[in-house]
Symmetry: C2
Subunit: 500 residues, 2 copies
Amino acid sequence: MADFSQISLDPAANTPIYKQLADGIRSLVDSGTIQSGEKLPATRELAGLLGLNRTTVSAAYAVLEQSRILEGHVGRGTFIAARTSAANTNGGESTLDWESILPPLENATTASSKIGITFASSRPAQRSFPLAEFRQLTKDVIDSAEATQILQLGSSHGYLPLRRFLFERASAAGIARASDDLIITNGCQQALDLLARLFFSENRAGNSGVVLEDPVYHGLIRVFSRAGANIISIPLDASGLDPALLEETLQQYRPRLLVVTPSFQNPTGATLPIDRRKRIVELAQRYSVVLVENDIYSELRYQGPHLPTLKELDESSNTILLRSYSKVSFPGLRVGWVIAPQPLIARMAEAKQLSDLHSDQLSQAVLLRFAQSGELLRHLERTRAAGSDLLTCVLDACARFLPTGSRFTRPTGGMSLWVELPAPLLAESLLRRATERGVDFLPGRYFSARRPHARGFRLSFGGLTPDEIVRGLKILGEAAQAELATLTQSAPLEPVAALV
Amino acid sequence: MADFSQISLDPAANTPIYKQLADGIRSLVDSGTIQSGEKLPATRELAGLLGLNRTTVSAAYAVLEQSRILEGHVGRGTFIAARTSAANTNGGESTLDWESILPPLENATTASSKIGITFASSRPAQRSFPLAEFRQLTKDVIDSAEATQILQLGSSHGYLPLRRFLFERASAAGIARASDDLIITNGCQQALDLLARLFFSENRAGNSGVVLEDPVYHGLIRVFSRAGANIISIPLDASGLDPALLEETLQQYRPRLLVVTPSFQNPTGATLPIDRRKRIVELAQRYSVVLVENDIYSELRYQGPHLPTLKELDESSNTILLRSYSKVSFPGLRVGWVIAPQPLIARMAEAKQLSDLHSDQLSQAVLLRFAQSGELLRHLERTRAAGSDLLTCVLDACARFLPTGSRFTRPTGGMSLWVELPAPLLAESLLRRATERGVDFLPGRYFSARRPHARGFRLSFGGLTPDEIVRGLKILGEAAQAELATLTQSAPLEPVAALV
């Protein structure tokens, strides 16, 4: 058996231990120390060997299985998979060995065709798209005189009529200040990418730290780690980010950026109450940290009062506000925007020009018409009414079907909530059993800034019907019972430390 | 006067000397060694002081003027500009000083409203857009059942029906192989950006060199320099990249990537003949360099026979083909694509997911319909007929109006040609005079991979009428005569070394 003790694990490093372990095993495979087909020690055995919690080893194995480096065979154990790409025979004139010159793939997931009910996707229900209105408004746009302008090369700042409309509305609402500017991006993801580039990959001088919520949207973690940022994470409670923990973190790390999703955070659904919002804005000012407000869900509030954005509360100009039409209208049309001080927007426009010149103008013009006509507001009202019913339904079904001892968040809007399974259940094992029964979800490791969240998972309900939610949760409950039965039969339980 | 001799200039470095000089002056300003309002030595004086050619100093000043670090006052000289953003008074609770925490802006250009005829923009003529067809096809798309699919969250690989269509067509044409795959990008710019990330900023191990043509499209240089690539440049001749120079370069630098625009290169308009194409493909194979083929203009051929792509000629699988609908249809709809071996496309899709999830689907569906219906082909035929007339017109007008001793390329397609002015004329000075007369163009430094191209400029004619071309070139000729008269009156000419 390979000498796993040579894998160096540093509990003080910012990379979580399970990722360090996965990287270490990957290196042993790459170097040929472990060969294809070789069997790996059981998670319990390796955990004992390395002095780790078994959930950490499970999380590392899950990552490697996902990357197709390991293969699990039920009842036989875990093995090093055969290489997917055969090495090239390099003769005189060579064909490039693409697998060897490129970084490894991260997400080798393949969607299963067996899935009938998916809690995995945080997107709106297709059936509720206002198709007739969309068709009419698009026709109005393309029949108008502005069609020529839309089809010609545009500005990196965005389609001017939309940019003006959004800025004027934000000014009237007290969100945008005279010293601010606005840029259109391809959804919120591109805004995050441009910011990660500006503050980290292209601007390496000085501090490289970014503070993220944990758990948090996978694409947010990855975009900052890709840019070389040093990820610092803060665990969330039921009301989101705790200002006391934040202050400790800011004192200790003096990070450059802080990214917060104040309303209906993905994946927990948590919303920051007003006192926390004010306190976070104050702390960002006191510690001179740039505050990035990821505000793409706030219009999907089903209960309770409207809360001001961090940008509104920020008397200084430290806050960068990110918004998007994707979650509240049509995700296939990629239109988001950023409101921030002029010097920042100027840099973002320059970075965007190099990234893709400018955003697609047809969708910008159509969404402008959608907003101006009042149809977006009517659509939002319908979405909120339907969302409120779905939320009630999913909370009831969670209480009814999830195994005893489960904890789950109680959001007041958005599309997702977060479940923590009771020990010894693991989200990955539950997912395997659920998938066999036609139901899936995203397990905790997708949302892991630092902690593995091996017992946590996200339930996204925004695209489902009440009936699907009930049936899906019933199946999850049955899968959990089946898994529990196997676990308690097969082995005595080891005590497990709390994860959050 | 500040001590300019402390600026370190390294002729062996990959950064061109004029850029090194500009950076050096910028540092003197940033450090306060030179203050706002201070006058800089005349270009001739500083050139003498530093042992440089005067055109090098002019190019450096032009860069700094563009960045608003310097201000020129006619008849008085060149001065350090006042800071655009006042420094913040940092009290206890601070407002961020955005200018100081962000990298400097590069392109502080503002379009002049005085410009009547612009040779600056390489884009198709708005008047020739097939608006009626576009309107009808868009209506067909949005009225179809696929509208729902278009509006829902899509794939990072692109809209499947378009992806299939493009891949099948490329397969039938012998361009795509069974081992290839295809990804849709937001135009060609995003494809370049994703490649620069994969091969350089996110994959720093090993060789960091990229070979570029010189002069070359500004957005191509910047996307690779932003990614931290080591830019290696090869000067072009009338037939584009010379394989003999390429072989020397590959031997000397062993770069990772080679980017070639084989047809109607931007800015020179040069097209590689078939023997050069074959030789370049062979060299890429021999030296195991990844060949990126920027093929966005090849359908705009006005004269001469069709030539095969490098991808077709490449029997191995070293070539990455970049194509786009932007130059041949509607630039405002951002749809390009990449055909390359499957392992590369998989990585690009992963990178794209982090960059902006996926490309806008409405435009993808509309452009698919445009291509499938045959309207794109009809539009291309009309564009080629019109382009042929424009090309004849611009070549005639160049011969007639440009000052004696000017050299210009003679492309057989595309949208641009390249002019080299005779000494002592400089493109920047000509541009200033032309702008006063309502005509503009992009001077050589925009296309500078390494050489300053101080006498070169790009003439883009694709968006103009024959009448505008003739009037514009007549004005350029007059501006050049006026500049010549001033130059020969004001000072004896110094001998100038050839630039290309």
